[in-house]
Symmetry: C2
Subunit: 345 residues, 2 copies
């Protein structure tokens, strides 16, 4: 039995779409148990029609306190009766195996980092995004959990990315790069220059510097960077995707033939949009937390929540954290040992 803590109150369409997403998942996955965490008064009526069908498969945990949009993490951690905090506590106490939330990213991060915490082999969990490339996917991490980092953290991110690519995306011996400007060793900022030799020492398949273009061209399977750069890339990529689609629409609007053409291409465009919607698809994992934590888009609907639940189950059934622990010791042992003795590395 896989027991999920679902933050029923986070997201733009909470609780209706979130709870419906949980119901979708319960119907599809027979081994799933869901804690619907949130305002019981609001959640219960949505679940009412499914009470018998899903009997024994779920529990409503009352947590009426509200987290506002853009509430700072320090405040979030004080609201101990919020749906998010209570869901996190269920995971910490071992009652649930994973957390899914469509709440604001900063709040979910805070609960992931401080209520659930990182596995003990790791100092900091990281957020990973799998971007589409012509041949498959490239994992970029960290995309926002850690703003100012040390070289040893980037080494840890590399091992996390390796494990994600190999275990979840099925990429054997993933090609690892460090995000920089210029291909050659010695190019980049201070952080990159200090991290490069450490990554060379690991047993990872480290190919060297990756440039911005390498996130999307399929030359690397995993690209590591600090959470500041990664977040900027993630948000600019999302936005550029929209801008390009809007430009296409704008050009289409201008001509009758283009309009007709677009009509014929409708199916192709729809498929494309699915592929490009990397944030929507299955949510974004906080990698290295003691249990799977999946952050979905604030706009998540029932289908997106179902995908996020599926993603959390994948981490669980692949024993992601066990493999990650092993990899942290086997692939980067010496480097991390050095880091423990010298906090400047």
């Amino acid at each position: 039995m896989f027991r999920l803590a679902l933050d029923a109150m986070g997201g733009d369409y909470a609780p209706l779409q979130i709870v419906r997403g949980g119901i979708l998942a319960l119907k599809e996955f027979p081994n799933l148990f869901v804690y619907f965490v949130g305002d019981k008064k609001e959640i219960e009526p949505i679940l009412e029609p499914f009470k018998e069908e899903l009997s024994g498969r779920f529990e409503i945990v009352d947590a009426p306190e509200k987290i506002e949009m853009n509430e700072p993490p320090s405040k979030v951690l004080k609201k101990k009766n919020s749906s998010l905090y209570v869901a996190g506590k269920l995971v910490r106490e071992g009652k649930a195996d994973a957390l899914v939330s469509a709440g604001n990213t900063g709040a979910v991060l805070a609960v992931g980092k401080f209520v659930i915490g990182a596995i003990k082999e790791l100092e900091r969990p990281a957020i990973g995004v799998a971007f589409p490339n012509p041949k498959g996917q490239t994992v970029l991490l960290d995309v926002g959990a850690n703003v100012d980092v040390k070289p040893r953290h980037l080494v840890q991110f590399a091992v996390i990315g390796h494990t994600y690519a190999e275990e979840i995306l099925g990429i054997k011996n993933p090609r690892i790069g460090i995000l920089s400007i210029g291909e050659e060793e010695g190019k980049g900022n201070e952080l990159v220059k200090e991290t490069y030799p450490l990554l060379k020492e690991t047993k990872l398949n480290f190919l060297g510097n990756a440039e911005g273009r390498d996130i999307f061209n399929g030359q690397f399977d995993v690209v590591v960077c600090d959470g500041f750069v990664g977040n900027v890339v993630l948000k600019s990529a999302e936005s550029l995707g929209f801008t390009i689609l809007n430009m296409i629409k704008e050009e289409i609007r201008k001509s009758f033939w283009a309009k007709l053409g677009a009509l014929l291409m409708q199916r192709a465009f729809r498929k494309l949009k699915q592929k490009a919607d990397f944030a929507e698809y299955g949510g974004i994992p906080l990698l290295g937390a003691k249990a799977p934590v999946i952050i979905t888009h604030g706009r998540a609907n029932a289908k997106a929540i179902r995908n996020a639940v599926k993603a959390a189950m994948d981490f669980y059934t692949h024993h992601f954290n066990d493999v990650l622990r092993k990899n942290l010791i086997e692939l980067s042992g010496e480097v991390l040992q050095k880091g423990k003795n010298n906090k400047n590395v």
Copy 2:
């Protein structure tokens, strides 16, 4: 008379396409004079047929030494008979008013920074790119000239960007942002947090933190960042653009109706490609050098070179550097004064 130093040997299609680009520009702009700098043996035959028509409008300056791809800046600056170095020297000595080169970016930067140099009111020139947005353009800088920067440099970049947006792009009182993660003051890395209050002190129209998405959504006219982050954004945006276009092609290939549709949309796609090809269009300026320096793509053809020459002329005829000097003093006076007394700012 506007006298241009054209590096005839830089770029994938040099010297033929570069020289042809110079000829295109000479035919179109009657006030233009071009120094074709490079291997005279190779350049002369290309210009031969235009000798009479363009008599007195150009001069070939022999500079036979070659700069290799990826040659480090330190080496570039020692090759004093290379086309790029000699072209830079023509500008430094006041014989030419601007430099255009399709050579490798690092090499052009080195010559721009160390042979031509920055205007004296400025510590470091910056590379600016004007990205398309739904309503117009957004200038991002620096995108690669300065990797590790101090807060005061970002303030200088903001004034440079303001001047570029106002004088060259015609945007009145441009809205300035600093690239960060999260909208609120206090979000970001150390550099951003230290720079934010300095930017608030200036007389610029400073709106606060811009996120990655704001580079492409039209909410800001100028976004400043260090050259590491900017370069990563530039290269990932170029690459994502290609990836999306390739995905469209891939989907089109799969269906007859989509193929037909694409045929009808051909014109629209062509226009879109032009708009998206921001690096191609007119090249990228090194802003704040003593004279306009335009770096074009290595793949630049004659048309791209013509566009770059036009861009250099625009900077010259708008007296960009005079306005920039004035703005540096009037818009950021106190902040920069503080910076001069405390190099940690």
